[in-house]
C-alpha cells in the first residue's frame, strides 16, 4: 500500500506509470494503439465495403436526381433554357443558343445522347434533334423561324418545355417518373397518363409477393424446422441434408427444374391429366405467371427460413414444455403459450431475411414470371439493360432501398432488432 505513493507525482498528486509519465496519458496511449490495431485489422473489409457497397449506392442515389447529359453537351443553351419560365413564347436568344450548341454537339457526336435525354420527356423529339442538328450548320439568323422551317414541332411549346426539363441537371423528374408522376416545365407534379402508370402498382405488387412468399416459407418451414430440432440426430441430419442440398444447388438449375415441373406439357400437368383431375385441353397454367413466381421463389428461399428457425428451436430446453405439461397445460397450450413465444426471434430473423431477399428478387421472376409475374427489380434491370434510362433505374432502386429501410425500422419498432437470432 505504501508503494502507491511512490508512483504518485508529488506536486500534482497524479498517478504515474513506471517510466514516470502520468498514468492517464499512458492509458490513453495504449488505448490508442489497440484502437489503431483494431482499425487496421478491420480496414481491408471497411475499404472493400466502401468501394463495393457504400460508394456505388451513393452514386446510384446521386444518379437518380442528377442527369447532366444536356448541360454537358449543350453548354450555351442550358442556362438560357433553365432561366425561361416555361410558358411564354420561345425567344430568338434560346433558338440561337440551341442552334450553336447543336453544331458543336453534332461534331462531338454527342447529339444522340442529348436527343435521347430530351426524348424521355417528350416522345418524337429524338428525330427532331438529330435531323435539325444535321442542318444546323447551314442555318442563318434569325434562328427561330429557321428552326420552325425545318420542322413544325419547333412551333410547339411542348418541345421547348421538354428541353427546359432536360436542361436542368438536378431534377426530381426521374423520382417523379418512378412514382407515376410527371414533372412539368412549370415545376409542378401531375399524374402520368393512365395507360402509362405502372410503377406504383408494381411496388405494391412486389411488397405483396414478398410478404406472401415470406408467409408461405413460414407455414412450410416451421414444421420442418420443428421436426429437425426434435427428431433423433440420425433422422434430423438426413432432413438437414434435404434442406441444404437444394440450398447448395445453383439458383438457375432450381428455377429451370421448376419450368420442367410446372409447364403445360410438364411433369405435374401430365400427372394431373393421368389421374383425371383435368383433361388435355384444360391443363393448368402453373408457370409464366404469378403462381409460378411464388412457387419457385418460396422453394428457393425456404432454407433462409428453416435454418434460423432450426437454430432457435435447438436452443429451447425441452424441460420448458415438459414443465408446462406437468402443470396441467394441454399440448396446444404448452405449444402456443410456452414453445411458440420462444421461437419468435427465429421467425423474426427468417421472416426478415426472406422478405428482404424476396423484395429484390430478379432472376426467378424473369425466367418464370411471364407477363404478370414481373417484379420491380425486373423493371430496374429493364431500364439498365434495354431502355438505357439509368437515371430512372437509379430512382426506382432508391425508392426500393427506402422501402426496405422503412420496413427494417418498422420491424425494429415492433419486434425489436435485438430479438432477432440468426443462429
Amino acid at each position: 500500500m505504501t508503494d502507491v505513493t511512490h508512483f504518485r507525482d508529488e506536486k500534482t498528486g497524479l498517478l504515474l506509470a513506471s517510466d514516470g509519465t502520468p498514468l492517464k496519458t499512458k492509458l490513453r496511449q495504449s488505448l490508442k494503439t489497440s484502437r489503431r490495431r483494431a482499425f487496421l485489422l478491420v480496414a481491408p473489409l471497411l475499404l472493400f465495403i466502401m468501394a463495393s457497397f457504400v460508394i456505388p449506392i451513393l452514386g446510384l442515389l446521386w444518379q437518380g436526381v442528377s442527369n447532366a447529359t444536356y448541360e454537358e453537351s449543350m453548354p450555351r443553351s442550358a442556362p438560357i433554357m433553365r432561366a425561361w419560365d416555361g410558358s411564354s413564347a420561345p425567344t430568338e436568344e434560346m433558338a440561337a443558343a440551341i442552334v450553336a450548341d447543336m453544331i458543336d454537339a453534332r461534331k462531338a457526336k454527342t447529339i444522340g445522347k442529348v436527343a435521347t435525354r430530351v426524348n424521355r420527356e417528350e416522345s418524337g423529339t429524338r428525330s427532331l434533334f438529330t435531323k435539325t442538328a444535321r442542318r444546323a450548320a447551314k442555318m442563318e439568323a434569325p434562328f427561330l423561324p429557321a428552326l420552325e422551317k425545318v420542322n413544325k414541332k419547333w412551333t410547339e411549346l411542348e418541345t421547348w418545355q421538354a428541353i427546359k426539363i432536360a436542361a436542368t441537371s438536378m431534377t426530381p423528374a426521374f423520382y417523379a417518373a418512378a412514382v407515376d408522376m410527371k414533372y412539368t416545365a412549370e415545376g409542378e407534379f401531375v399524374p402520368q397518363s393512365e395507360e402509362r402508370q405502372i410503377y406504383v402498382s408494381l411496388f405494391v405488387k412486389t411488397i405483396v409477393v414478398a410478404g406472401g412468399v415470406m408467409l408461405c416459407c413460414l407455414l412450410l418451414g416451421y414444421p420442418v424446422a420443428y421436426l429437425m430440432a426434435h427428431l433423433p440426430a440420425k433422422t434430423s441430419n438426413l432432413l438437414m441434408i434435404l434442406v441444404l442440398l437444394p440450398f447448395w444447388t445453383s439458383l438457375l438449375v432450381r428455377t429451370t427444374a421448376w419450368i420442367a415441373m410446372l409447364q403445360a406439357q410438364g411433369v405435374l400437368n401430365d400427372l394431373f391429366v393421368f389421374i383425371g383431375i383435368t383433361n388435355d385441353d384444360a391443363r393448368f397454367s402453373l408457370i409464366y405467371n404469378m403462381t409460378g413466381t411464388v412457387i419457385a421463389m418460396t422453394h428457393i428461399l425456404l432454407p433462409f427460413m428453416i435454418l434460423p428457425l432450426y437454430s432457435v428451436m435447438r436452443a429451447i430446453p425441452p424441460s420448458h414444455v415438459r414443465a408446462a405439461k406437468s402443470l396441467g397445460a394441454t399440448n396446444w397450450t404448452a405449444f402456443w403459450r410456452v414453445y411458440f413465444p420462444a421461437t419468435v426471434p427465429g421467425i423474426g430473423a427468417g421472416g426478415l431475411l426472406v422478405f428482404i431477399l424476396a423484395i429484390g428478387y430478379y432472376i426467378t421472376p424473369a425466367l418464370v414470371g411471364g407477363q404478370d409475374g414481373q417484379l420491380i427489380s425486373n423493371f430496374i434491370a429493364y431500364h439498365m439493360q434495354r431502355s438505357l434510362n439509368w437515371s430512372l433505374a437509379a430512382a426506382l432502386g432508391g425508392i426500393l432501398l427506402a422501402i426496405v429501410l422503412f420496413l427494417y425500422w418498422l420491424y425494429d419498432r415492433i419486434v425489436g432488432i435485438d430479438n432477432m437470432k440468426l443462429g
Binding site: K109, G112, S123, R126, R196, I198, Q265, Q371, Q374, L388
Partner: protein, 401 residues
C-alpha cells in the same frame, strides 16, 4: 466464265451418258465417259473454289485476334461457316465468337468504362443508328468495302439506302413472320388476320415481349394497309387501335424473348402459332425436319448490321473482318446456311441451296423473295427511336394490367 466451264462439263456428262446409251456402247465405256465428265466437273469446281479464295485478297493478320459478337444459335453458326472460317484460313487471325441478346447496354457500358472487349457487333438497324448518334461506334470508311465481282463499287452494290449509317455496314435482311405446325393444323392460317382469330384457329399464340413488330402486325391484321402502318401508329388513336387488337388475344399469349424460343415453343406444342425470326423457323425445318410452315403475310422486315464499338482494342483487324464478311461471296455463302437475305445485289444470283441439301433452294425462303414480299413492311427505325420509350412503357403497363 468459270460458271460456264461447269455448265459445259455438266452438259458433257449428260451428252456422253446419252450417246453411250443411244449407241449401245458397253457399260465400261459409259462408265469411263461418266468418270471423265465427272473429273472435268470436279476440276472446274476446284478452279472455281480456288478462284473464289484467290479473288479475295486477305490481309495477313497472324497473331491478331477479333472478338465477334452476334445473336447465337443457328444465326451465329451461319456466320461462323460463311465469315469466320474463311477469314481465319485466309488471314491467320484468331476469332473469338461471343453471343448476346441485342440492345446497346453492353456496348454502352464498355465504351463508358473505357474497356472495350468487343471488336465487332451484329446489331439491328435502330440500334446501329442510335450507336452512331451517341458516339458509341467507330465511323467506317466505306471505301474499304470490296467491289462486286463484276467491278461494281460497293456503294452501288448494296441495296439502295442501306449504307446510309456512317458507322454500320449491313449484312442481312431478316424478318419477323409467324409460323405454325403443319402436322397439327393441316388447314393452317393464311393471313396475319388469322393469327389474331382465336375463334377460327384456337390455341395459344407466341409473341415477342416487345411492342416492336407486334403493334405493326396488329394494325395490319386490323385492316390497315402496310404502307400506312406508321402513319396510323403515329397517332394516339392508332396506338389505341393496335393495343385493342393485341388485347383481343392477350389471354392466349405466351411471351418469348430470345430468338431460339419460338421454334421450341412450337415443337413443344406450347403454342399453336408464334411470331418468330424467319431464319430460326427455316433452320428448324431444314436442319431438324420440323413440320413448320411460315406465313409471310404481314411480315415486318429489318436489317442487321456490323458496328465496331468506339475504342475497340482490335479495330484494324475488325475492319478487315468487316470488309471480308460483307463481300459478295461471303454474304452469298451465309445465305446457304440460314434464310436471311444478303444485302448486296451481286450476292443474290450466287445464293444456291441449303448446305448439304441440294434440292432445298434458298431463294424462295428469303423474306425478299417476290411471293413472300407481297404484304411486307419495313421496320421504321426512326419511328421506334422516337417512340420506343413511350410505347415500351405503355406495353409494359398493358402487360402488367
Amino acid at each position: 466464265m468459270k460458271l460456264s466451264t461447269v455448265v459445259y462439263a455438266a452438259s458433257a456428262l449428260a451428252l456422253s451418258a446419252g450417246f453411250a446409251h443411244a449407241d449401245g456402247h458397253s457399260n465400261a465405256d459409259v462408265k469411263k465417259a461418266l468418270m471423265d465428265a465427272q473429273a472435268a466437273i470436279t476440276k472446274a469446281l476446284d478452279a472455281m473454289g480456288a478462284g473464289a479464295t484467290q479473288a479475295y485478297d486477305f490481309p495477313s493478320l497472324d497473331g491478331k485476334q477479333v472478338t465477334v459478337v452476334s445473336w447465337g444459335g443457328a444465326y451465329t453458326k451461319s456466320q461462323v461457316e460463311a465469315y469466320h472460317k474463311p477469314f481465319i484460313a485466309g488471314s491467320g487471325a484468331k476469332i473469338i465468337s461471343e453471343d448476346y441478346n441485342g440492345g446497346l447496354a453492353e456496348i454502352k457500358a464498355q465504351v463508358e468504362a473505357g474497356n472495350v472487349t468487343w471488336d465487332i457487333v451484329d446489331v439491328e438497324l435502330s440500334d446501329a443508328v442510335r450507336a452512331c448518334d451517341e458516339g458509341l461506334a467507330e465511323e467506317i470508311d466505306m471505301s474499304i468495302l470490296p467491289p462486286a465481282p463484276d467491278g461494281t463499287p460497293a456503294m452501288d452494290d448494296f441495296i439502295a439506302g442501306t449504307l446510309d449509317v456512317p458507322c454500320a455496314v449491313p449484312t442481312i435482311v431478316w424478318s419477323t413472320i409467324f409460323a405454325y405446325d403443319k402436322s397439327k393444323m393441316p388447314n393452317g392460317p393464311k393471313t396475319i388476320g388469322d393469327f389474331f382469330d382465336t375463334a377460327a384457329f384456337p390455341g395459344k399464340r407466341g409473341l415477342r415481349k416487345n411492342p416492336k413488330a407486334n403493334l405493326e402486325m396488329a394494325l395490319i391484321a386490323d385492316g390497315v394497309d402496310a404502307g400506312q402502318v406508321y402513319e396510323v401508329l403515329g397517332t394516339d388513336e392508332g396506338v389505341d387501335r393496335a393495343f385493342a387488337k393485341l388485347d383481343s388475344i392477350k389471354d392466349d399469349v405466351v411471351w418469348w424473348e430470345a430468338g431460339a424460343q419460338p421454334p421450341q415453343l412450337l415443337a413443344d406444342g406450347e403454342v399453336a402459332m408464334t411470331t418468330a425470326y424467319n431464319g430460326r423457323i427455316f433452320n428448324a425445318v431444314a436442319a431438324e425436319d420440323k413440320p413448320f410452315e411460315i406465313v409471310w403475310d404481314g411480315q415486318v422486315w429489318d436489317l442487321d448490321l456490323w458496328i465496331i464499338p468506339k475504342g475497340a482494342k482490335n479495330k484494324e483487324a475488325a475492319m478487315d473482318f468487316l470488309a471480308y464478311s460483307t463481300s459478295t461471296e461471303a454474304l452469298a455463302k451465309q445465305a446457304s446456311w440460314i434464310s436471311y437475305g444478303p444485302t448486296r445485289n451481286s450476292s443474290a444470283p450466287l445464293v444456291g441451296s441449303y448446305d448439304g441439301k441440294p434440292d432445298l433452294k434458298m431463294g424462295p425462303q428469303m423474306p425478299t423473295a417476290p411471293q413472300n414480299f407481297t404484304n411486307a413492311l419495313q421496320n421504321d427505325f426512326e419511328f421506334w427511336a422516337d417512340n420506343a420509350d413511350e410505347l415500351n412503357e405503355r406495353f409494359n403497363a398493358w402487360l402488367a394490367s
